[in-house]
């Protein structure tokens, strides 16, 4: 136990005395959260849309005011023909066009249904989706409002439902994603260089000629990073609650427990890389390239896994951050408990045990 404490103290000294490590450890998560939370948000604010109102009747005017009063859209009005609409799009300022047909109100009154044409600039698929969704929900809203007073209901557009995130708040998807990404990167990278550094500087040679056990080294190496990564989790959650206005719906202790588990998975992975590599550079490269890309692609945080080809969907299963992303999303946004998440938790636990066993097995007790 004394040995373990001395080892842990030594590791803490290494981390705390290396300013660059500290910067990566604490600077990166904060920067990422803020960048993803604010700059790269896919929330649609003040998008310029063009309204072409051929009807100019009561219903179209009411609906227009409704659209205009939402903070998502800035409305420009113009009476243009189809060709002119297309050329306005090419200028790139307009995100979408809403066209009211000539007999909008009359169609509603006589046929109880009318059409509104919504044309979106689909070069940015996400934004286009979002805008059409917003518009549809506003139209829906209007329809419901009008229908309260009518016996024969009007029908204007198909129903669109946004579960859990009715305003499509950008930070919702990003906080769990960034949490998975940042914890993965920081934990894997930091531990990946920790053992290989001892090999490179030659201290491993002395350590080997001492009574220490490989288990001791592995746990002592992981411990400080676990503590520091938990500080990171606190920082990320504080930022998300107080800066990005995204509260934790579910249980905070559960979220911490799951985060601890995920951090340990990542640390085990980092240690495995560290044991298998010979130089800090290679270890760094593997953990950066090997972790960043799969985490970005396969965690489901930037690209929905359901839309991927089956082989990629299968591959995504071995990416730990995918499971953690699901867990965090479920706890933070949906407010689910452990009873709904035991499967993901077990998978992470299994991965951790496996990685630790393999690391322990492949720990070289000699130089060759």
């Amino acid at each position: 136990m004394k040995q373990f404490l001395a080892f842990v103290t030594k590791e803490f000294y290494h981390v705390l005395r290396d300013q660059r490590t500290l910067l990566i450890l604490f600077g990166m998560p904060v920067a990422q959260i803020l960048i993803f939370g604010f700059a790269l948000t896919n929330e649609v604010k003040d998008s310029e849309i063009l309204v072409v109102d051929y009807a100019k009747d009561n219903a179209s005017q009411e609906l227009l005011t409704k659209i205009g009063s939402s903070r998502y859209f800035k409305i420009r009005q113009a009476a243009l023909n189809h060709k002119e609409i297309l050329s306005t799009f090419r200028q790139g300022k307009i995100k979408a066009v809403v066209v009211f047909p000539v007999n909008f109100n009359e169609d509603l009154l006589h046929h109880n249904k009318a059409q509104i044409q919504v044309i979106a600039d689909a070069t940015d698929v996400n934004t286009a989706n979002m805008i059409t969704n917003y518009l549809s929900s506003i139209i829906m809203d209007y329809q419901n409002q009008v229908n309260k007073t009518l016996k024969m209901p009007y029908r204007i557009t198909p129903e669109v439902r946004m579960l859990y995130n009715p305003q499509l708040k950008g930070a919702h998807g990003f906080v769990p994603g960034v949490m998975a990404l940042v914890l993965m990167l920081v934990s894997v990278m930091m531990t990946a260089i920790s053992i290989v550094r001892e090999k490179e500087t030659g201290t491993m040679e002395i350590l080997l000629v001492s009574p220490f056990k490989p288990v001791l080294v592995i746990f002592a190496k992981a411990f400080p990073y676990l503590a520091l990564s938990l500080v990171n989790v606190v920082a990320i959650l504080l930022l998300s609650v107080f800066v990005l206005d995204l509260p934790v719906k579910g249980s905070v202790p559960l979220l911490f427990a799951e985060s601890t588990l995920f951090i340990i998975t990542c640390l085990a992975l980092g240690i495995f890389i560290s044991i298998k590599t010979e130089t800090q550079q290679i270890a760094m490269l593997i953990s950066l390239m090997g972790m960043l890309l799969p985490t970005m692609m396969f965690s489901g945080f930037l690209f929905p896994i359901e839309n991927m080809p089956v082989p990629l969907q299968i591959i995504s299963n071995i990416v730990p951050s995918k499971w953690f992303y699901i867990i965090v999303k479920s706890i933070m946004i949906k407010g689910l408990g452990i009873s709904m998440l035991w499967k993901e938790t077990l998978i992470l636990l299994g991965m951790t045990v496996f990685l630790l066993m393999v690391s322990l097995k492949s720990f070289k007790i000699r130089l060759q």
């Binding site: 000294y13 201290t203 009574p211 130089l367």
Partner: protein
């Protein structure tokens, strides 16, 4: 009693089976200061790494304090002290922290074995809160020795401890080793510096993975079979050229400010060589009968 026994130890590296240690056998007595003397690439580090259980031998066997280096590696690891050739302490930890760490890893405390390191530690103690990476070469060696000694090892392996250390610190270092010997610690030290050989109790001259000779330094020097002359002239380069052409000469090489010329025992007198050199137009010639050093013996063994 023999502390270290090495029998036919062999080590090869890589697919090409490069032989680093070739059928080496020797033994070191308890409390002895034993030197492995040889140039870079002679196989000294490989032998040390096998004895400290860091490498597995490809052939032969060895034991340290009666423990087999393959089977009982754990026992060896907790009882020996090892100082690798490259400075291998934590550069970002202070002197005190390094020492404390290694003491704790070996399950002891600085206080418990302070008597062993006291003489050395007092020299670096004024800098104890300085980080190891910021120390001078000599101080680094002293700290490394302290860390290797702090658990009271039975046998101490020092791999080229004085390489890259200034002459004064080197001298101090060897004095420290002599004092440690009095504590009945067996010391194996390797060095490429021939002048350090005479400071050991016994030495093994090693080259190309093979041991050329094992004996007390004095015996090796006294056993030098040939006549050795130290020669000096105003034109050193021409002197070497002229010496090479002498028909009776066995070998000649630059040796400090002199050139050493080797002749078969009793076959050449200094005066005779002096006149030979004068005859070849060299000026300022000085020829002395020289006593062989370890280096001369080593060169002799290589031929």
């Amino acid at each position: 009693m023999e502390a270290v026994v090495v029998k036919n130890l062999t080590k090869t590296y890589g697919k090409e089976q490069t032989v680093a240690v070739d059928d080496v056998s020797f033994s070191v007595n308890q409390g002895e200061l034993f030197g492995l003397i040889g140039p870079d690439g002679a196989g000294k580090t490989s032998i040390f790494r096998m004895l400290t259980t860091l490498l597995l031998p490809d052939g032969g066997s060895a034991s340290v304090d009666g423990h087999d280096i393959v089977k009982d590696f754990r026992a060896i690891r907790s009882s020996v002290g090892y100082m690798p050739g490259k400075f291998s302490l934590y550069q970002d930890l202070t002197i005190e922290e390094n020492l404390h760490f290694f003491a704790t890893v070996f399950g002891t405390t600085i206080e418990e074995n302070y008597h062993l390191i006291k003489d050395i530690y007092v020299q670096i103690e004024p800098f104890k809160s300085r980080r190891a990476g910021k120390l001078s070469g000599g101080m680094k060696q002293k700290l490394a020795l302290c860390c290797a000694l702090i658990h009271q090892p039975t046998t101490l392996f020092l791999d080229e401890p004085t390489t890259g250390v200034d002459p004064v610190s080197r001298k101090e270092f060897w004095e420290m080793l002599k004092r440690l010997k009095e504590q009945n610690i067996t010391i194996l030290v390797s060095t490429p510096y021939m002048d350090e050989a005479s400071l050991c109790d016994r030495i093994a001259l090693i080259q190309g993975g093979k041991i050329l000779s094992i004996d007390k330094p004095d015996n090796i020097v006294n056993g030098y079979p040939d006549t050795l002359l130290a020669v000096k002239a105003d034109q050193m380069y021409r002197l070497l050229k002229v010496l090479e052409k002498h028909p009776d000469m066995l070998n000649s090489y630059a040796f400090g400010e002199y050139a050493h010329a080797v002749f078969a025992n009793g076959q050449m007198q200094p005066e005779a060589l002096e006149s030979y050199l004068h005859a070849h137009g060299l000026s300022g010639v000085e020829v002395l009968a020289a006593r062989a050093t370890i280096e001369d013996s080593f060169i002799k063994l290589l031929h």
